[in-house]
């Protein structure tokens, strides 16, 4: 279990202060897999390093397992080497002057009391088997491929059975195909071991496919936290909607609330008047942003009866993505992104009528 309360990390340079993390709180359940997702420079690595003890926060409280490892009020700052945390660094940080075996044995040799030689050997081999690096023990560490180095880093982080595991963009140095395989492999492994994991990434796919809980970060704070499904389907802010998956953002204003049903709001936008299902109260006249995923915008074949939730546009360009076709449709001043099956026959310059389903429209305050 990891619990972070009101964490603040401030970097002081020459005459400048930079608040890398501001008042961040999160908690990872025992055995849980938590992903911190956010754009570059938002403070993900800083948060992770604070948990590891490599960065000294200005204030806050960090609990790992049942031990408070940082709490300035109580005068607690446990040194990194005593936190019993496994960590995989973005660069993997494999020691180039050691063999694969020595790399993995290193944490075991630091344990007190020190395990016996046989014990070390057994545990190293078990850890290497876990990440499928059997037979490479005597190989000098620099002579490993990127994927093997990543596994080695993982074996080294797990071999001493730490309380928790921290991963800083562990897949970012791998090529696309390998990355995809490793995502599931990594998740399966930590789930099998039942180890609490805090994971940092700026790739939304990784966060969505691997984690139990995703925390979306921006400028040093978590702006939304939830299951991958929630984050994707019910983004709380236009930032989250935009950052997690592709989305179309349409600015508008609430003009009417359905009589007797506060869950239905009518939003006036430059495209069309949109009837939306909302999950929180809005007032008439409020400025809002409506988000709709590309796969949820439909192309209507027949003209609808009422002009509600429809907009007329022209296909501006088509991008072939292999499994699907992305079309950009100009409606007035805005270009909307749509995803279609590749078998649909569409052509650039073709006029189309777009339809929006009320339940697929996500209204957020602006």
């Amino acid at each position: 279990m990891i619990r972070i309360e009101n964490l603040q990390v401030t970097y002081r340079g020459r005459g400048t202060t930079h608040h890398a993390v501001r008042n961040l709180s999160l908690s990872v359940a025992a055995g849980g897999f938590y992903a911190l997702l956010g754009p570059s420079g938002c403070g993900k690595t800083t948060t992770l390093r604070a948990v590891a003890g490599l960065e000294r926060p200005t204030s806050g409280r960090i609990v790992v397992g049942d031990v408070t490892v940082f709490s300035p009020e109580e005068g607690i700052h446990v040194e990194p080497h005593r936190r019993n945390i496994g960590m995989v660094f973005q660069s993997y940080a494999i020691w180039p002057h050691m063999t694969v075996f020595e790399n993995v044995a290193f944490p075991l040799r630091r344990l007190r009391p020190r395990p016996s030689r046989d014990d070390i050997r057994r545990r190293v081999l078990a850890a290497l088997a876990l990440v499928q690096l059997q037979g490479l023990e005597e190989r000098p560490a620099p002579f490993l491929s990127g994927g093997q180095q990543q596994r080695l880093a993982l074996a080294r982080a797990l071999v001493f059975e730490p309380r928790v595991l921290l991963l800083d963009e562990p897949l970012s140095n791998l090529d696309a195909k390998l990355r995809e395989d490793m995502r599931l492999e990594l998740r399966d492994l930590v789930k099998r071991l039942g180890i609490t994991t805090l994971f940092v990434t700026h790739e939304q796919v990784e966060a969505l496919t691997m984690s139990d809980v995703v925390g979306v970060m921006r400028d040093g704070v978590i702006v939304q936290e939830g299951s991958p499904r929630e984050i994707y389907n019910v983004p709380a802010q236009s930032f989250v909607a935009d950052f997690v998956g592709k989305t179309n953002l349409i600015d508008g204003r609430v003009i009417r609330i359905e009589d007797g049903d506060a869950r239905i709001a009518y939003v006036e936008t430059p495209l069309a008047e949109l009837r939306c299902v909302v999950d929180r109260p809005f007032t008439v006249g409020q400025d809002v942003t409506v988000a709709v995923r590309p796969e949820h915008v439909e192309i209507l074949t027949s003209s609808p009866a009422a002009p509600l939730n429809v907009a007329a546009g022209v296909i501006e360009s088509l991008v072939f993505l292999g499994n699907m076709l992305e079309c950009h449709v100009r409606v007035g001043a805005q270009v909307l992104r749509l995803q279609r099956n590749t078998d649909q026959s569409l052509a650039v310059g073709q006029p189309v009528t777009l339809g929006f389903e009320s339940t697929r429209l996500r209204v957020m305050p602006r």
């Binding site: 590891a52 003890g53 490599l54 000294r56 040194e79 990194p80 080497h81 005593r82 936190r83 019993n84 945390i85 496994g86 960590m87 660094f89 973005q90 660069s91 940080a93 020691w95 180039p96 002057h97 290193f106 944490p107 630091r110 344990l111 007190r112 880093a153 080294r156 982080a157 001493f160």
Partner: protein, 581 residues
Amino acid sequence: MTAPSVAAFVRRWNGLDLGPALMLSVAFVAAVCVAVTLAVILWLSVVDGIPGDVRYNYTLAHFREILFDGFTYRVLGNTLAFSSISLVFAMLLGLPLAWLVERTDFPGKPVIFTFMTVGLLVPGFAVALGWVFLLHPRVGIINQLLMSAFGLSEAPFNVATIAGMGVVEGLSLSPVVFIMTAIVLRAMDSSLEEAARMNGATLWETIRKVTLPLARPGIIAAGIYVFAIGFAAFDIPAVIGLSSRIYTFSTYVFQQMSPTEGIPQYGGVAVLSVIMVVLAAGLSAWYVAMQRQAPRYAVVTGKGYRPTIIPLGRWKAFSVALVVVYFVFTQLMPVVMLVWASGLPFVQVPSAQSFAQLSWRNYQTLPADMIWAGTRNTLILMVLVPTLTLTLSLATSWIVVRSRIPFRGVFDFFAFLPHTVPGIVFSIAVWLLALFVLRDKVPIYGTIWILVIVYSIVRLSYGTRMTNSAMIQIHRELDESALMSGARVSGVIRYVLVPLLMPTLLYSWIWIALLTYRELTLPVVLATSDNQPLSVVVWSLVSTSSYGSASAVAVIMLLLMLPILLAYWLVARRVGVVGNT
């Protein structure tokens, strides 16, 4: 203590990480040594009476004395003339050589680099001695030859002049210019040169209009560096000029320290030292500024290009001949002269008669105990100085590069300071410190330790430059992953940093050992008959005009140096670096 509390204590102790504190204290010791040494000089320059006296007053009398003394300015003028001449000579020789090696298809480049590195290491006093035998107005054999050949009544050359010493210093500094400018030329983007050639410029125009202006900051920096070395030089002016009372700053200060009559004027010595430090610091600041400018000219692009190699064509044989002449003159001749003189009762022109006189006498009559003690002291220094220097450097670099300690830059500043302070000033400062401040409380004077400490402090700037740049190149996450694996800072240093730094440490260790071997300036002030290294043995023989014995010891020294040079060469080849001062 009861058993459980002992266990608890041990557990607490085990958890404590003493690494940072240890590093900090070592770096602190290094910084304090430098600071105290310089403070002593400053203090003595403004205090009257015999230093160490309980009663003293602050006074500017010493400054007045020195600054109103006309002789000071004569020495200053001499020193400037001496270092200018040596600068011009070093540049004239080193620069074209660097261009030949880096930019043309000159054959045998590695050999030249090796010879140049050896040139950096041959002791200055040995070279100086060789030149005395060649060009001294009385004993110099070239003079003797010319006088008898043309029936001259006066020697045509006199090395014991400012100009003569400047030329010798210039010859021995030419390898420094060579190595520094070779690096600049190598890093230069040759596409600019190519562009000039494409636009119809001749080779000579291209060199003048493109190559030289582009490399200018680097060349100027090398020039300032060499000028500063000349300014502080001791061994060549001492061996050649001291007996004829031709002084540069270093030898003048030295002479004031041990005057032939009267008591030493410590206040005056301190003031002269302060003046030297100020002038040298100015040069050093200028040098740093020039180095900063170099990248602005986009000379170093870091791209993996190959510079264009200019074919020498029919000039090749001519250039090879010139380079051979250069090596014969600067490196071979002085050494051959040493060997020649070491076999003779007095220096003479080679002839049937003088060959008949060759013998081992100079070697056999050497004061054996002095030689043994000198060899022992030199060897002790060669082991301890690099070890201590690199220990101090490693700790300082860790504090500066790796820790988050506030004001850590201060440690770097103090470690760099010795670079700007002339060696003779350091040795005088420590001498005064040992005799008048530490005295019996810390009886270090006359022991080998005082030399170990001074040598190590002086090499600290070189050591930290090496360890700093090597440590910066080691990815921080390599340390941090060791911390996360349960290692303390001391473990990180021992199991991760030191093994990864090993090639650099080994290379620097041998280089410092070699510099220690050839060092004369530092021990000449500080050594006593108990702790003098071989270089001082040579010096004391020279100063009593026992030239035959002095050359014999110098020859022994050069022979002893060969195996270490070989080790250096093997390591340097593996690390892939060339010599550095």
